[in-house]
Symmetry: D3
Subunit: 67 residues, 6 copies
C-alpha cells in the first residue's frame, strides 16, 4: 500500500519509553533525532525494538517551518 502522507523518513530506532497508553520512540534519521509519540498498542503491534530500521511518517500539513 502507498500512503498519501508526503514524509517517510528512513531511520533507526534508538530509544523506546512506554507509558500506560502512549510511548515515546526516538529514531536516528541521518544523524538527526526524530521523536514520535504513538500508542503503546502500536509499538507492540509493530514489534518495535531498538535497532529496527523504520520510516517516520508525517503528513505534510503537520510540518511547520522556522527561519
Amino acid at each position: 500500500m502507498n500512503i498519501s502522507a508526503r514524509n517517510a523518513l528512513k531511520g533507526t530506532v534508538t530509544d523506546i519509553a512506554k507509558g500506560q497508553i502512549v510511548a515515546k520512540v526516538k529514531v536516528d534519521v541521518g544523524g538527526q533525532t526524530v521523536c514520535s509519540i504513538v500508542s503503546v498498542e502500536a509499538v507492540d503491534d509493530l514489534g518495535l525494538k531498538v535497532g529496527d530500521e523504520i520510516s517516520a511518517i508525517v503528513k505534510a500539513t503537520e510540518v511547520m517551518l522556522a527561519k
Copy 2:
C-alpha cells in the same frame, strides 16, 4: 524562545509552490526530502526562498512509524 515540539530538523529549502491559501514547501534534510504544507501568509512572513537554511518543526504526537 524554545518550543515544546520535539522535532526540529535542519535542512535547506529546495522548492516552494504557492496556491491561494496554502503553499507546499520542500526541504532537503540530510539527503531526504521533507514536504510541508503551510499558509502562503507564513511563507511570505518568513520571507522563505529556495536555498534558505530552515528547521522543519513537527510535534511528536504527529509522527507515525512504519515497519
Copy 3:
C-alpha cells in the same frame, strides 16, 4: 509495511476535487462519508480515481469524540 496509526477505515472513493496545492477526497466508509484533505501531489502519486478501494488512515491522537 505496517503503520502505527490505529485507524485504517476501508472505503470507496466517491469524489475528488483538486485545488492548486491540496485536494478534497470523499470516501464512502460503510455508508458514512469520510472527507480527507491531502496534497494534489499525493492524489496524483496514488493515481486516485473515483471508485478506487482505499483505506482512510487517521492517527488515534487526531480523533476527537462527541456525546
Copy 4:
C-alpha cells in the same frame, strides 16, 4: 453548535483504557473499529462509558489515504 470538522462518524464505544493523562477509546463504526486518544479529563467530562452512542470527529486535514 455545528463544527467545521468534516468527519463525524457515528458509532458505539466498545472499550476505554485510562492512563494518567490520556485515555484510549475504541468505537465501533459500522463494523470497523475507530481508536481515539483523548485526555482522561475529556473522558470524565463527557461521562463516557462502554455502550455510549457517540460521534468520532476528525478534521479533514488529518485524514490520510492509502491505496
Copy 5:
C-alpha cells in the same frame, strides 16, 4: 453535543479568505488573533461571515508551548 477537544476559545470572525479547497479564517479572541485553515465547504456549511460569534476549537494534543 459536547466534544472531547479541550480548547473552545470564544471569539469574533474578523476575516475570511477563500481558496478553491481551503479557506483561511481569522478570529479575534480577546484581542489576540487566531487563524484557522478549514475547508471552503465547512465555511459555506456554517454560513460563516465576518462578525460572527464563534468558537475556535483545538484538540489539546495539537497545542505546543514556547518559553
Copy 6:
C-alpha cells in the same frame, strides 16, 4: 527564529499535570483557558512552572471552528 505556525497566544501557565510520557499544561489566555498535551520531556526541557509567561503555539490547519 520565526515559525510558520500562525497562532502564538500569549498566556500564563496555571497548571501542570505530568504522566509518564505526556503532560497536560493549562494556560490562562486573556481569561480563557488553553489546554496543551505535550511530552514530559518538553515540560522539563523548557523548565515550565506555574506562573510562567509562555506562548501557546497552534498550526492554523489544526484549528476548527464551531458556530
